[in-house]
């Protein structure tokens, strides 16, 4: 039973560039959430996708956008990268209707903006 998988694991981008991160949810899950975790900080909620639509959003600018595909996988896009976007980006999946809506995390994608 595959858990949440993310790619790439590490990448380096230049300020102003755009990046796309990818996530495959845990088998049987239909909801994907994205988090940003800066060094030494707790994960910050970016947004959640269900049925290919953004359902909830945290306090992040429009430069952060996402997509969910019919197979439930998801992408996180960040435009016009800033140095402050350097962080670990975590994907989590869950199943709607599951009591507590427990989310399970992947190992993350490390983004460094230079």
């Amino acid at each position: 039973d595959a858990g949440v998988t993310q790619s790439p694991t590490h990448l380096i981008k230049t300020r102003g560039q755009q990046v796309t991160l990818r996530c495959s949810p845990k088998s049987g899950h239909d909801t994907v959430s994205w988090y940003q975790q800066a060094l030494g900080q707790g994960p910050q909620f970016i947004f959640q996708y269900y049925e290919e639509e953004e359902r909830q959003r945290g306090n992040f600018p429009d430069r952060f956008s996402g997509h969910q595909f019919p197979n439930y996988s998801s992408e996180l896009n960040v435009n016009a990268l800033l140095l402050g976007d350097s962080a670990l980006y975590l994907c989590a999946s869950s199943l709607v209707g599951n009591p507590g809506n427990t989310i399970y995390f992947g190992e993350g994608s490390w983004l460094t903006v230079v």
Binding site: V4, Q41, G42, P43, L88, G100, N101, I103, E107, G108
Partner: protein, 104 residues
């Protein structure tokens, strides 16, 4: 902004029981409380989840009082490998985390 508050750090010794408390001053009626463990450079790992009273699994217990304004994660007989950051989660939002250091 995080809705929860938890201690920044705690120290313990091997074999002791550790209790980490999180405050949930504005928890919604339908929100569950979930705790995660995170090691450096890894994603958070699910530990336990509850709504009220007491929940126990093979690694931890979770105590939630009737007013649900707080939750306490209890780790029995910790070992060096339990050194990690522990987070409480409410409504998709994480607390700042408690860095637990277990000493020999």
């Amino acid at each position: 902004l995080a809705k929860t508050t938890q201690p920044i750090s705690m120290d313990s010794y091997e074999g002791q029981e550790v209790n980490i408390t999180c405050s949930h001053n504005n928890i919604a009626t339908n929100d569950y409380i979930t705790w995660y463990q995170q090691f450096p450079s890894q994603g958070p790992r699910f530990i336990i989840q509850g709504y009220k009273t007491k929940v126990t699994n093979e690694v931890a217990s979770l105590f939630i009082p009737a007013d649900r304004k707080s939750s306490t994660l209890s780790l029995p007989r910790v070992s060096l490998s339990d050194t990690a950051v522990y987070y409480c989660l409410e409504d998709m939002r994480f607390g700042a985390g408690t860095r637990l250091t277990v000493k020999p």
